[in-house]
């Protein structure tokens, strides 16, 4: 008798119109959601292509400005070390030590930039949360790809707030990198510049050189 109880008792079984309508409704929503998702993916690709070069140019200028002072400083200390090598009476030790610290400082700034680059950009699937905004009602959609668990959507929200903000966020991000570079372990650039000026005086080198180093101090602080 089990086959009898398996038959639904509802009278609606024979109400074909209602069933058909809700089925079509579901199918329609699924299809439209799929269309919106396809559009979203196409849009992401096109948007990326449209802004990559602009972003590159923006970042290039920032990076170039950022390395100007430390690069020049390293050139100055390297030249001083070469000069010391040619002077038998000069001790190489202090200038070599300074050069190592300057190199470490520069490497620290590069390292901070590389770290920022390695942060994975949000993938398309992680951005699926945005589908909610497209006016497609997902709750009626039965397909497995429509159902995301809580953890996923949590990750969506985090990914969005972390990585895809507006222009304001871009500059905030840049401020973050900048701050990071200021706290590179070891001595600050200010301290290193000061040490270099001391060495220039000790070696009895031209005042003009001290002025160049002093200028760097103003460029970077």
């Amino acid at each position: 008798m089990s086959w009898v109880t398996a038959v639904p008792r509802s009278d609606d079984v024979f109400d074909e119109d209602v069933d058909e309508l809700s089925l079509q409704n579901k199918e329609w929503r699924c299809n439209m959601e799929k269309r919106a998702q396809d559009g979203f993916r196409d849009g992401i690709d096109a948007g990326k292509e449209a802004s990559l070069q602009q972003g590159f140019n923006l970042g290039y200028r920032e990076g170039a400005v950022k390395m100007k002072a430390i690069g020049q400083f390293k050139g100055i200390v390297s030249a001083l070390r070469c000069w010391c090598q040619s002077q038998p009476s000069m001790s190489l030790e202090p200038i070599t030590q300074l050069l190592q610290k300057v190199e470490k400082h520069e490497e620290g700034i590069f390292e901070a930039m590389r770290k920022a680059q390695e942060l994975p950009p949000p993938s398309v699937s992680e951005l699926a949360g945005d589908m909610d905004d497209l006016g497609v009602d997902q709750s009626d959609c039965g397909g497995s790809d429509c159902c995301r668990n809580e953890e996923d959507s949590e990750r969506c929200r985090k990914g969005q707030s972390d990585c895809c903000g507006h222009d304001k966020d871009v500059s905030e991000n840049s401020a973050g990198i900048h701050t990071e570079s200021l706290f590179v372990k070891g001595e600050s650039l200010e301290q290193l510049l000061h040490r270099c000026m001391e060495l220039v005086t000790e070696m009895g080198l031209p005042e003009e050189l001290r002025l160049h180093i002093q200028q760097l101090r103003h460029t970077c602080i």
Binding site: G39, I44, K66, G71, C82, F110, M113
Partner: protein, 143 residues
Amino acid sequence: MAGFSHNVSDDLFDSIIMADDRFHVDGYHEGFEEGMQQGLIEGRNHGMLHGAKLSAEVSFYHGFALTWKCLLQNTEDVKARKRLKAVESLNAMIQKFPYEDPQYENLQEHMERVRAKFRQVCSLLSVAADFREYVSGSEGMSF
């Protein structure tokens, strides 16, 4: 009256057909905005490293040239004069170089000239131009 009902059914039919496109277009616009942001961030991170590398290299040469100019300025002998001239020419070349501009059309070409000049200066100064990180780091400069 007949015309009116014709219009209504026509609109209804159209809106069903157009909905397909409308959802695609709506999704596209959302995605485009998102992609713009992503592209901006990815491009920026990528560009920053390139700009930083090139600037660090050029600025290094600049500091190097400035220092040697100061060191050689007050010497009288012929050899030092020749060295000073080369150092000054490297310095001038760098000052004319808008290396901070990624859209400068002769960026690569100008960079090669600066590198060649630097090597020449090093050889005149009897200094080993073994600043290896720049020589190896200069290969992946194209985007």
